[in-house]
Each structure stands twice: as structure tokens, then as C-alpha cells.
Amino acid sequence: MSHASVPILKVEHLSYRYPTGQTALTDVSFLVGMHEVVGLVGPNGAGKTTLLLHLNGLLTGVRAATPGPATSPEPAHAVEVLGMQVVPANFPEIRRIVGFLFQDPDDQLFCPTVGDDVAFGPLNLGFPRDEVRSRVSRTLEAVGLTGFENRVPQQLSFGERRRVCLAGVLACEPDLLALDEPSSNLDPRSRRRLIDILKACQAAQVVASHDLELILELCGRVIVLDQGRIQADGPTRDLLSNERLMRSHGLEVPLSIQYGLEAGVRPVSDP
């Protein structure tokens, strides 16, 4: 852990098995500091989404017994958010703190209009109507969709729907964002917009993605997950430029590193 003072998220010895008996996560431990942005990379089926679903209690794994002979049962809770155990009693508070962006906007965009949808979270948090309205217009502005309140989801483009989802999450003013493939299926312009929005966001973030360029740009630190285990955890540039590590886990060194195009060093462009 480099610059984390108080961890917003603490995952210790988390293990999870699907109801089918298949092991999804094995002994996963890591901390996320306040305002820290952590990437989560790994091949398909590595357990990235499963891990994210634990951050706000949508799935509840068990705390694996610590190495050595199993003596007394450990406390059952492997995930803590701001020092709170992720247990049903804490769900309302934890789900305010942790904002979750799902991969498919249609799963998350279930209200008749954009305005209703963005208001869904703040209304559930019990804010007065005026505060909800101002949050809706503020967050829609933040994602570049000012005045979209009365639009209906089926008339929006995919990129717009993804941004409405993000607005719906940001409207709860979360301190930790769990982002599942935020850039998937986006065209370059929508992707760039999304990256800019996330960069401007103050909340700590856990970003699961196959888009390694995005990870490189957003995240100071990255966790490599494969077969349900953490394979590496460290500074993004160091890990992503390690060709052997990348290859052995179904990834590859991002082109910008391969060709030395670091942030700030742009490809040749007209002045």
C-alpha cells in the first residue's frame, strides 16, 4: 500500500463458491485507500465481477481459514467498508457508500424516464424532493446530459445509457465506485467522455476492465486476478509492462507502453 491512509475498503481472506459448488474466489485480500483508484484485470472468468459483487453485499463470501490447522472459526466477514462489516444490518449505509456500475446499462436503467432513474437512488436514501431534483440535474450535467430528464431509455444511444447509469450512481454521492467494464461496447468518443468523467470523480474506485489502456490511464495501482486468486498487486505501470506476467494471465502489455506512448507523449499530431 503506497499512499493510503485510512482504507475505505478492506478485503481479507475472501473466498466464494457458487451455489453450484464451483470455486470463484480463493483467499483474496487487499486494501483500497481513500480516493485511491485501483484497476482489476484478468482473463474472462477470473472472478472480477464476482469480487465486485462482494463490495456492497450482493454476494457474501466467507472468510477463509488462515493458513495452518483450522482451530476456531474466524469471524465470518471478509469485507469491510469504512470499518463496517458487510452484513445485512449495514447494507443501507454500505450501499450509499459503495456505488455500483453494472456492465449492461439495460439492467440498471429500469425507470420510465431518465429523470426518474437518476432520482431512484437519492429517493431511496430518503432525501427531500428538492434535494433530489437538484442532485438529478447536477449529476446529469456532470455526465454531459443536461436536460435529459424527460427522455425515455429506449430512445438513448448505448453510450448515453451508460452515462445515465453512471449519473444514477453518482447521484448517491458514493465514496467508493465499483465499476464493471465501464468502457465495454463504447465508441472512442463515448469512452473518452467516460474516462474524463471518472477522472474528475473524487470517489475511490475499483475498476474491473479488459481495457488496459483505460486502466493505465485511470489507475495508479492494479490487481491481477486469475482463477479466483490475486496473482499480483502493485503499481499499474510496473505490472502492465511485465510481459511475462501479462501473458501468463491472458493479458498483454498495452500498446502505449510497447511503443513508449506515455500519457503526455502524444502520437504525432498537427500543431
Binding site: L53, N56, L58, F91, P92, R95, R96, V98, G99, F100, F102, D104, D106, D107, Q108, F110, C111, P112, T113, G115, D116, A119, F120, G121, L123, N124, L125, R129, V132, R133, V136, N150, V152, P153, Q154, G168, V169, C172
Partner: protein
């Protein structure tokens, strides 16, 4: 069949479209109740109501061809039901009742069709809420409408994928088989999706009570 088949003309801009949604709901309900409750012996009144309904459609710029196609989908069901009346009397009577059934079904259907084709659905929902419809019922309608589009989209994609791998003519049996598979697949996908939608609701603080901004 595109999914906007349901309410293709709801976002028009005619005189009818600009009426307040609540007024349209009340009017439509009044017409439906009148059609259903008035005895069929007062058929001139039914005739007048039919004229009124068709006139309303005309004013709202809803083409007759659209109405006919919608009615064509409903008619087989209604006719079958109506036929049961004379059937139960050995075809010795009951034709009046049967024709009354058909007339009432068609008129109420057309009246409702006018309502959804002159008012965007989200505004219709808001109006229902203002008129005191139970919240859970409004939410149910809202979800049904919202995910109709998503599921239709999914169905269209699955059919395209199926066609892309279908070569030449196929026997009716094969067509039947693949359709059954398609429907089964769609059900499973929808079930999985409902699970994810529920997770997304929980993630944003859903605790079992639907709240709205107004």
C-alpha cells in the same frame, strides 16, 4: 413486427396529443364503461360511440391501416370466445349475445388503443399515479413497458443470429423446433436479467418501497 407497434403514434403533436393525460384517461374509461354497461338493445348508442372512437383516431392522425392490423391480432381470440355462446346452445340462438361480445371487445380495445397512441407511456403512468392508482400497479406497468423493449431487442438479435446460421429451406418441424428453442432461451435470459435488475435496484438502496419524485 417492431416493438413500437404498441404505441407507434404516442409522440405525435396533434390536438389530441396535447390534451392533459388525466382527461384522456377519464374520457377513455367513460367510453369503455359505457360500451360495456349499456344493453346491446340500445345499439344506436353503441354506433355513436363507435363513430366517436373512430373520429378520435382520425383527429389524432392514427392511420386506419394501423388500427386494422392491431384489430386483426385481437380478432381471432375474440371470435373464438364469442363462438362459444351459440356453441353452448347448439347453434339455436345466442348470436345476438355473440355479436354484442365482439362489438364490445373491439370498441373497448380501440378506445384503449387511442389512449396509448395519444399519450407517451411515461406521462400515462404519471397520470395514473395522480389519479390514485395503487403504486405497485403503476410500477408493475412501468417495468413491463421498459423491459418489453429490451426483451424484444434481444429476441430480434437472437433471430438474426439464428437466420445467419440457417441455410436453404427447412421443414416445418425444424422451424417449430428452433422456435421452441428460441422461446426457451429468451425465458432463461429474461430470468437472468431480472436477477441482475434486482441487484442493480439493491445497489441503489432499494428497500422494497418505490418512491417517486412527484
Amino acid at each position: 413486427m417492431a416493438v413500437d407497434f404498441l404505441d407507434r403514434y404516442s409522440r405525435g403533436s396533434t390536438w389530441c396529443h396535447r390534451w392533459p393525460a388525466r382527461l384522456k384517461i377519464v374520457l377513455t374509461l367513460a367510453v369503455i364503461v359505457a360500451v360495456v354497461l349499456l344493453p346491446i338493445s340500445l345499439w344506436p348508442i353503441h354506433g355513436c360511440l363507435a363513430c366517436l372512437i373512430f373520429a378520435a383516431h382520425a383527429v389524432a392522425d392514427i392511420p386506419l391501416s394501423y388500427l386494422l392490423r392491431r384489430v386483426a391480432l385481437l380478432l381471432p381470440v375474440v371470435l373464438l370466445m364469442a363462438l362459444c355462446v351459440p356453441l353452448s346452445r347448439g347453434f339455436s340462438g345466442g348470436w345476438e349475445l355473440a355479436s354484442a361480445l365482439v362489438a364490445r371487445a373491439l370498441l373497448t380495445f380501440l378506445a384503449a388503443l387511442w389512449l396509448v397512441n395519444t399519450t407517451p407511456f411515461d406521462r400515462l403512468l404519471a397520470a395514473f399515479r395522480q389519479l390514485g392508482m395503487p403504486r405497485s400497479f403503476v410500477v408493475l406497468l412501468a417495468f413491463t413497458y421498459r423491459y418489453l423493449f429490451v426483451v424484444f431487442d434481444e429476441l430480434a438479435r437472437m433471430r438474426t443470429a439464428q437466420r445467419a446460421r440457417t441455410f436453404g429451406r427447412r421443414s416445418p418441424w425444424a422451424v417449430w423446433n428452433s422456435t421452441v428453442q428460441l422461446v426457451a432461451m429468451l425465458l432463461i435470459r429474461s430470468l437472468n436479467r431480472s436477477e441482475r435488475v434486482h441487484q442493480a435496484m439493491l445497489s441503489r438502496g432499494w428497500q422494497g418501497e418505490f418512491r417517486t419524485i412527484d
